[in-house]
């Protein structure tokens, strides 16, 4: 299963980005192959519609779960209809490698 995590940078030491639509990078982590991939978010400076555009980006990678600090009003109904699970973690200090470690439970 693939999981998307919003990240402030492109290393495993980066922190969890508290925003979904305008995060700096998405980390797509595959729990089966343990592979991960950093995708820069093209919508970071978008005036509006950053959330739905970001959903399209991660949905095209067949992600089934997204971990972020907050999801906007426009994003929630789209993710609901796509049956993508939202995980809200309000901890800006959390590093990407910690989260990947937690996912290995």
């Amino acid at each position: 299963m693939k999981v998307a995590i919003t990240s402030t940078g492109n290393t495993l030491e980066s922190n969890l980005d508290q925003r979904f639509g305008r995060c700096a990078y998405f980390v797509v982590y595959d729990t089966d192959t343990k592979a991960f991939e950093f995708i820069p978010n093209p919508n970071i400076d978008a005036e509006q519609g950053a959330g739905p555009a970001s959903v399209n980006l991660v949905a095209s990678r067949d992600v089934q779960k997204i971990i972020s600090g907050e999801f906007g009003m426009k994003v929630k109904p789209i993710l609901d209809s796509l049956k993508i699970q939202m995980v809200v973690l309000k901890d800006p200090e959390k590093q990407i490698k910690d989260i990947i470690e937690m996912l290995k439970h």
Partner: protein
């Protein structure tokens, strides 16, 4: 909206707990109105759009939130934040181990473990007052036609004056649901 991180507030001091007084129930929408208006510093118009209600309705919710909080302060009551006519997009859960919130997009299957740390110490954020969360309950305002007396359920966000009575073709008026105010 995201659910509040706490369930309420308790007063402290020598006078608290001496009289068994009822707590003040702050509804989720009132919490959200206060958060948008005074924490996120949005104006009432922007906040009403976020909550998908009309601007006057938002102001009513906000005024009710302030009134309840003032009541709790002055009378030394506990505040509990729960209930209300809120639309959670899906069932939300809270993990007691890693502190994350998550939803369950597969409504058919029930969730037992945290998707992040795998702990089974999860709490459902489901509607404790499911009656109040049900939009079809009796506790809502009505639109009434003053000519023929026809009543219909008020749709939040649409002023009653824009609703047209199907029989008489005149605009309708707001009617407060009295069962609701007394309860």
């Amino acid at each position: 909206m995201n659910p509040p991180i706490i369930k309420g507030f308790k007063p402290y001091g020598p006078e608290t707990g001496k009289h068994k007084i009822e707590l003040v129930n702050l509804l989720y929408e009132e919490y959200e109105a206060l958060r948008l208006s005074d924490y996120d510093m949005l104006n009432h118009h922007q906040a009403s759009i976020k909550m998908a209600v009309s601007r006057p309705t938002f102001t009513r919710i906000y005024a009710s939130a302030l009134q309840k909080i003032a009541k709790a302060f002055v009378e030394g009551r506990q505040i509990s934040i729960e209930g209300g006519k809120v639309y959670f997009d899906s069932d939300w859960y809270y993990c007691n181990d890693c502190g994350c919130h998550f939803n369950n997009p597969e409504k058919e299957k029930s969730t037992k473990d945290c998707p992040l740390c795998g702990s089974n110490k999860i709490t459902a954020f489901a509607s404790e007052n499911s009656m109040e969360n049900n939009p079809d309950n009796l506790c809502g305002d009505l639109c009434i036609c003053l000519n023929c007396g026809l009543e219909q359920k008020h749709q939040s966000g649409i002023p009653c004056s824009q609703e047209i009575c199907p029989k008489c073709n005149i605009s309708m008026k707001r009617k407060r649901n009295l069962n609701c105010i007394n309860s």
